[in-house]
């Protein structure tokens, strides 16, 4: 048949069958969860000074926000950053005789919000692939930056709201809601919830930890630092390859269903974006895949917008998984803060036409600007994602 003549597959598809890919996913997912647990253990070992320094640095919510933007822009993966934050929040250290989190939930909330802005840099960079064709670039940059502006608006609304409610009630709105949600997964009626993920990863963490202790038997601090570095490397690579394998595993099915999600209605778009991102564990992949279609003109920015919002919600699954790996209630709370923040955008901001039109208009305006002078697009990326956050962190540090 003609189909057989046409079919040429990618190297990954040629080399690995579905069964092996599923096995790889299981291995990578396990590695990811082990890395979170390992990281949590390493953070605990870093002790009082590190904890106090970290708390001091992140106690300024603006600094936290910009750390989130900068760190995610550099790593280009909000899943990695939010998982690290979850690991930090889930690490309890003893300070002055009492147990406390390495990073408090309140201090972590702005970083999570910043990570949501930082993650949008990837698809904006992807849009630069159309730089040489002006009209195409205009569409691509509009399509990519609608995600930036939407997340930016969400932060503009939720960040002050969280700060005000925290100042008035002692706990921010998102933090309070996430705490309520977390009760479903923690001690209910006196029964202690034990995360099955933590149970599954504990033996591997214990083995790796004992290996480190044996190897670096001279200094505990060195052991913890090396363990932290190794945990972060495992985290980064397991997430990186997990995304790749999952994408290869489901992309064909997604393509077969694409017409169902594109251009039907917003709810379908949100569901499609959410489902795809939850499976592949990366909102950057989802939003980056949309850019060439928008650039080619077969998908409008308006039609892509709900998919982007769905991707925002879907990506929170990674942090939730990571929080279950720590089994710590505070880690679960911060993972739910991430989820609620993105859900709020979809439920309360997108349905309101006035709010919905703001990111669309801004994205189109930036597209028009980039059409006239393409260097403005470059300036936008460098300033919003790198220069401004870095400068503001330095200024805050200086005044502190």
């Amino acid at each position: 048949m003609a189909e057989e003549r046409f079919i040429t597959r990618s190297p990954l598809k040629n080399g690995i069958g579905s069964g092996l890919k599923i096995f790889l996913v299981a291995v990578l997912l396990y590695s990811f969860l082990v890395s979170i647990g390992l990281m949590s253990e390493a953070f605990k070992g870093l002790g009082k000074d590190f904890a106090e320094n970290l708390i001091r640095t992140t106690s300024n919510p603006f600094v936290g926000l910009f750390i989130g933007i900068l760190a995610t822009s550099i790593v280009q993966s909000s899943s990695t950053i939010t998982s690290i934050i979850v690991g930090m929040v889930g690490s309890e250290v003893i300070v002055n005789g009492s147990t406390m989190s390495l990073l408090t939930v309140s201090n972590a909330v702005p970083i999570i919000m910043g990570a949501n802005i930082g993650t949008t840099v990837t698809n904006t960079i992807v849009s630069f692939g159309h730089f040489t064709r002006r009209e195409e670039f205009k569409r691509a940059i509009s399509g990519a930056t609608v995600h930036d502006f939407f997340n930016f608006i969400c932060v503009c609304i939720m960040f002050p709201l969280e700060m005000v409610t925290r100042a008035v009630f002692g706990k921010g709105l998102l933090e309070w809601l996430a705490t309520l949600m977390s009760k479903l997964f923690t001690n209910i009626g006196g029964i202690k919830f034990t995360s099955p993920i933590k149970l599954a990863t504990k033996p591997a963490i214990d083995i790796i930890k004992s290996l480190f202790v044996q190897f670096f038997n001279t200094s505990k601090n060195t052991t913890d630092v090396v363990m932290l570095i190794i945990a972060m490397i495992i985290l980064f690579f397991s997430l990186f390859f997990l995304v790749k394998v999952m994408k290869a595993l489901v992309i064909q099915r997604i393509e077969n269903m694409l017409d169902e999600f594109i251009g039907r209605n917003a709810l379908w778009g949100i569901l499609g974006g959410m489902m795809f991102t939850f499976i592949i564990q990366s909102s950057s992949v989802t939003t980056s895949l949309l850019v060439p279609m928008i650039a080619a003109g077969i998908l409008t920015v308006e039609a892509a917008f709900p998919i982007v919002i769905g991707a925002n919600i879907g990506t929170t699954g990674t942090a939730i998984l990571a929080s279950f790996a720590t089994g710590n209630r505070l880690a679960i709370i911060i993972a739910f803060v991430h989820f609620l923040f993105n859900l709020t955008g979809a439920v309360f901001i997108y349905p309101i036409r006035v709010f919905r039109e703001i990111p669309l208009k801004l994205a189109h305006k930036l597209g028009d600007l980039a059409f006239r002078k393409r260097r403005y697009a470059l300036l936008y990326v460098f300033s919003l994602f790198f220069i401004v956050p870095l400068l503001l962190i330095l200024v805050s540090k200086f005044f502190a």
Binding site: M1, F6, P11, R253, N256, M257, A296, I298
Partner: protein, 224 residues
Amino acid sequence: MFKNLLGFHKGKDFLTKVLDEFERMLEDTERIYTLVCKRLLDNVEEPNLKDKIYEIDKDVNRLQRDIRKRIVEHLSLQPTVNVTACLLLMSVVKDAERLGDYSKNLYEVTELLEKPIDRAVFSHFFGELDKDILTLFEQTKEAFVESDESKAELTWGYQNKIKHWCDNTVKELAKSNLSVNEAVCFALTARHFKRLASHLTNIATSVILPLSDLDYFDENRIIQ
């Protein structure tokens, strides 16, 4: 909605969808051609023929756009998979669309004619070229859908015959005593027949030609 979500693991893949649509394009253009030939040569009056032909042609154009859209979607999602097939389809889809256009142009010839064509006069100039083109439509469809190389090579023989016949017909028409109206209509018919044969052969020979040589079957290995 839920039913559709559950159908996540099902559904036709990209190539099946696109090839189905391409086959429909070929079927539609063949239908236009058959309807036009009936009117042009057999003088069969079908009600609302013009509307019908233009409607089918619109559908052909829609299918072309749809295939292109699917190709862009596919390459956005899987840039390394089926690249050759995508480029090939991008090329042949244009040929299929032209088939619709030339068949439609043949209909416009029927509107130019001041009196119905005399079949005997037509046969004198064209022989059975109208039937040969219909056969070429069938062969092209089979060659492409079944990826049949021998059928693809056969189409080149047909195309060659049609091309030379049409060129000779135009030369003969220039020397003929036909009325201006008849001579112009016959010359246009010859031109459209030749183009139809050419586009059909472009599609059929895509089965054997390397991507870089598409549309240049007459300068290629078939001759060798």
